[in-house]
């Protein structure tokens, strides 16, 4: 009996309960027209359905965890289990083979030892299936009967149903928050391990990055774990070069689209711009490595910089900037368009020109949205990996020359985790420390942005 079947049963029972609850609520009104139901019949129906479906679903979730254990216990208790080897891999494989055959997922066993276990498995599985089914139905009917008996003309079914809906919504939002905490916790755990091997001071302030996954894990050379070149590369490519490209272009396109473009053009250009956001970053990577980087190198050579490399921070940064234009322009566009037209009319009626109106009235009022768009773009840029790998190399380099090879935090995380290194080695663990720093920096950036917006926004409502 798979969980799918049980869920279908839950839905079936729920539907039956819904109809029964509704019929009962209607019957009050029919039998005596002077009775006024406190809640409409549909709410009574939902009340009954909720009392059936939620307990049953809770049981199904619990049962799908508990049942396999119970099956295993009963098989191990059977005499056939005595032939099993004591522990380890072999025992596990025999058990799972027998289980697969018993539940119909495999034709026959390879290991003859497993053959004897098929029967106990089969018996246990069907026994617990029946138990599960019976309990499901009992719970369904129990919950349904409880709710059905409470359906009375003066029963406030609506408030109960609405509270249930609210709790479901609350749980949905908790999922996102809990996931964030989960990510954070797992990062912290590994980061603490890393800092047990490498001093945080060496990591945060060292200027030489060249972890050696092949060196002895017991006695790592902490001078090779200076992450400053990575932080610099990340900031230089993601927050400086990319933003120099993206912020002016994004804002100008937003201003054009909201203020000057005629509606038919806007209806075409805005979605087209947003398609840019959907292009996979690998494709941007090709573009950066094969088209932009050679052009930049040729241009550099042409102006006399003979040692310009094909891999440069500039190529990666520029393409990254193009990639995030839609983030900036789309958010800026929405927030400029959201400024009440009364502001714009007020300014125009004073004899302000369109550009004065944009600069002095619309922009200040739209500032929160614009800053939010820029922050989103920065977070996106410093988290970007593919373009940098393809266009700016993996060589850590502390330099202010945009034509140099550079690398970023995310690229190094990938490099450390995809290597052959074990999870006990500081080179591998450094990935978590880098991730942790990235996480904290993004958090702080968002926090600062929120404060800045609060301080400087010109609230119009």
């Amino acid at each position: 009996m798979s969980p799918i079947t049980l869920i279908l049963i839950a839905i079936g029972l729920g539907l039956a309960g819904w109809l029964a609850g509704r019929a009962k609520a209607w019957s009050f009104q029919k039998s005596d027209p002077s009775i006024r139901l406190v809640a409409r019949p549909n709410y009574h129906a939902w009340y009954v359905a909720v009392w059936i479906v939620i307990p049953v679903l809770a049981f199904i979730v619990l049962w799908s965890i508990v049942a396999p254990q119970l099956v295993m216990q009963s098989v191990l208790a059977s005499p056939a289990a005595n032939v099993l080897p004591d522990f380890g891999f072999e025992r596990q494989s025999i058990l799972s083979e027998a289980r697969a055959v018993a539940s119909g997922n495999a034709q026959a066993v390879f290991n003859p030892d497993a053959q004897g276990l098929v029967k106990p498995f089969y018996g246990a599985i069907s026994r617990y299936n029946i138990i599960g089914l019976v309990v499901t139905i009992i719970i369904g009917f129990g919950g349904g009967a409880f709710a059905f008996l409470r359906v009375k003309p003066d029963f406030r079914a609506r408030t109960r149903v609405e509270r249930t809906v609210m709790i479901v919504l609350l749980l949905a939002s908790l999922v996102a928050i809990l996931t964030t905490f989960g990510i954070f916790a797992s990062l912290v755990f590994e980061t603490v391990r890393f800092f047990g091997m490498i001093s945080p001071l060496d990591f945060l302030f060292g200027t030489y990055w060249s972890p050696d996954p092949m060196s002895s894990a017991a006695n790592p050379d902490s001078t090779r774990y200076g992450a400053i070149p990575l932080f610099w590369g990340t900031i230089f490519i993601g927050a400086i070069i990319a933003m120099i490209v993206a912020i002016p272009l994004g804002l100008m396109s937003a201003v054009y689209l909201t203020q000057y473009a005629n509606p038919r053009l806007r209806a075409w250009v805005k979605p087209a711009l947003e398609i840019l956001a959907g292009v996979p970053t690998v494709v941007y990577g090709y573009f950066a490595a094969l088209t932009v980087a050679p052009v930049i190198r040729d241009a550099a050579v042409a102006v006399g910089i003979s040692n310009a490399s094909t891999e440069s921070a500039l190529a990666a940064g520029v393409v990254m900037g193009v990639m995030i234009i839609p983030f900036v322009s789309s958010m800026a566009d929405d927030s400029i368009a959201a400024v009440p037209s009364a502001m714009r009319d007020g300014s125009l009626a004073m004899g302000a020109t369109q550009s004065e109106t944009i600069k002095r009235v619309l922009f200040p009022a739209a500032l929160p949205g614009i800053v939010a768009g820029v922050m989103l773009a920065v977070s996106r840029a410093i988290g970007e990996t593919m373009i940098v790998v393809m266009a700016a190399s993996t060589a850590a380099n502390l330099s202010a020359n945009p034509l140099d090879r550079m690398t970023t935090v995310t690229v190094q995380i990938v490099k450390m985790l995809t290597g052959e290194g074990s999870f006990d080695h500081p080179a591998t663990l450094s990935a978590f420390a880098l991730g942790f720093v990235l996480f904290m920096v993004t958090l702080v950036l968002n926090f600062i942005a929120l404060r800045v917006v609060k301080r400087f926004r010109e609230a119009y409502d």
């Binding site: 009364a342 300014s347 125009l348 004073m350 002095r360 009022a365 609230a459």
Partner: protein
């Protein structure tokens, strides 16, 4: 055709509209309407909702230009100069013909900056001292100075509705216009704030040519000396306010005044 009361003396016309029509796409919202706006009086446009009085008002400072589908024909002259002609810069026009809107729309800036906005963009002030003077003078004229003089750096949006509307009037005054157009300036305000605005309109009358669009016939009677009654995109009747309210000629005006429809 418009019925014009024949006891009107020659007016000192600030603006003359002749055969003005406004189209929204294919729909004709205003049908060849002519009127003179006197420099000395407050002119009220009254009429039922949707009769075109606000649309017509917006022709006088070309605010209809901001609506892409709107099209205006006919001529409107400001002191013998066609405001829709090629010689007229719309920015200059709007500095000379200011506007106050239905819902108070102060900018989300400080009270001071709200007033200083117009003079600054038009280059009327150079030094901070000049700006201070303009701000004070405008707020005094709008009857708001005593209420806000100690908190000029607070946001204009923090004021009450009536104060916001007087701030908007002060803002319009600050660029020293010749005409002020008011589009139902009191419809979002309570009776006390309304009374203050009406008092202010009386004070400003004579110094500026004022045109006010209003739903309220009592308001038209209280603040205006000339009234035009609009119906279905035309001016049905135009005359002295007292005559329009006591001796209307047209049946439709009579019906509207006595509350038969509207």
């Amino acid at each position: 055709m418009t019925v014009i009361h024949d006891n009107l003396e020659e007016t000192n016309a600030k603006m003359r509209a002749r055969d003005v029509s406004v189209y929204y796409g294919d729909k004709k919202a205003i049908d060849e309407v002519s009127i003179d706006i006197s420099a000395d009086y407050v002119t009220a446009f009254i009429g039922p909702s949707g009769c075109g009085k606000s649309t017509y008002l917006r022709c006088f400072n070309r605010m209809n230009d901001t609506i892409p589908v709107a099209r205006v024909t006919g001529t409107i002259e400001l002191e013998d100069e066609d405001i829709y002609g090629s010689g007229m810069d719309v920015v200059q026009l709007r500095a000379r013909v200011g506007m106050v809107f239905q819902k108070p729309n102060p900018f989300p800036k400080s009270i001071y900056d709200n007033i200083a906005y117009g003079p600054k963009i038009h280059g009327l002030v150079e030094k901070k001292a000049d700006t201070d003077e303009v701000v004070e003078k405008s707020l005094v004229r709008a009857g708001l100075w005593d209420e806000v003089k100690d908190r000029l750096d607070e946001s204009g949006t923090a004021l009450s509705g009536g104060q916001q509307q007087r701030l908007c009037i002060a803002r319009a005054i600050a660029v020293d216009p010749e005409v002020i157009l008011m589009d139902e300036p009191c419809s979002a305000l309570d009776p006390i704030a309304t009374a203050k605005i009406e008092e202010l309109i009386n004070d400003l009358s004579g110094r500026y040519a004022i045109v006010i669009v209003t739903h309220s016939m009592q308001q038209a009677a209280r603040v205006s000396q000339r009234t035009a009654f609009f119906h279905l995109g035309k001016i049905v009747e135009y005359g002295r306010t007292s005559d329009i309210f006591t001796n209307p000629i047209e049946e439709r005006t009579k019906d509207y005044i006595t509350g038969r429809y509207g």
